[in-house]
Symmetry: C2
């Protein structure tokens, strides 16, 4: 994935103002740590499905998520979705889904443009799965979601919100010049264990 | 698109704390104005394509955009993309694309959760088109992009950034209880003219 142009660019400093040093954020060379940091710090992102309403077009929807209680992220994003919205309906017909996060709303990109490669971007692609209500994972996911999104537990019962998770198959991270960083799902999921 | 449950919910106030009154933001009843406001206020979003690298899975990518110079948005999002990134490559093979914006990063949702329907979400679905370099639209788009994203004009020439635009075919806006608001592309594009 690293083109010669991107490799060359990796060796030169950013053209714009230097990005602020954020104590929390891993160094750009720490790709897996950066991906997990983005997943743990954010609270919302865009979940993209294959739209059944729109003849198979990609459809991105703004959703909240959590990968664990604060300070104890596991990297797997959990969602609380209702089939009143197209995203959950789409996923139940075609599981292929991507979930996209930006560093920009965290406020740590400073004056750098949101599209600048030093402002990190993470796309997790895989299958959106309904979590079995009877599984112990449901308790873990509810705790992860409701601590970061307290109002969820009061959302209307008759909307039948259910917990979904992304089974990650591909990871696309850009956090510096030089193109996307190769991270395997197992590297990502096992990080920090 | 309005289910009976959602219509009923439209009549009741939000369950959580009232959202802050933002002078700028149109009233929830003004759906078209709200969609155009979101497109004009934001500077970045998630562009989702059909991934050629990932066997047709949806692939969302963080991108910057502009719908016009500040204060003069026209509603059409313009992008500055390079085929070194998968999004532009995907769109050149399959134009079907959606572009997703959230009100949350604007700071106007207050303590409301990003997934709460009163924190507005906009998904524009259509075709991602390369803008002809010789057209007058290129000048308009460059001016729109470079005023909101000044560093773009200094991005590496050898990355061959090109201007793309979304030809909008479907609009999905949620800005209140009651499900997505029906807005046609012509209503959206002609708003304020």
């Amino acid at each position: 994935m690293l083109s010669p142009i991107r490799l060359a660019l990796a060796l030169r400093p950013p053209a714009s103002a230097a990005r602020p040093i954020v104590a929390d954020k891993p160094a750009p060379s720490e790709a897996t740590a950066t991906a997990r940091w983005l997943a743990a710090q954010n609270t919302w992102g865009v979940l993209s499905t294959i739209s059944s309403d729109l003849n198979g077009a990609p459809f991105g929807n703004v959703v909240s998520y959590s990968d664990g209680v604060p300070g104890q992220g596991h990297g797997i994003p959990y969602f609380y979705l209702t089939t009143l919205d197209p995203t959950a309906r789409d996923a139940l017909k075609d599981e292929r889904t991507s979930f996209t996060l930006s560093e920009f709303p965290l406020g740590t990109c400073g004056k750098i443009d949101p599209e600048n490669p030093t402002c990190a971007k993470l796309t997790l692609t895989g299958k959106l799965k309904l979590v079995d209500l009877q599984s112990s994972e449901t308790d873990l996911a509810k705790s992860a979601l409701f601590t970061k999104h307290p109002e969820m537990k009061d959302w209307p019962k008759n909307h039948h919100f259910r917990i979904f998770k992304l089974q990650i198959e591909n990871i696309f991270l850009i956090d510096w010049f030089g193109g996307p960083k190769p991270i395997s799902p197992s590297q990502y999921l096992e990080f920090g264990r």
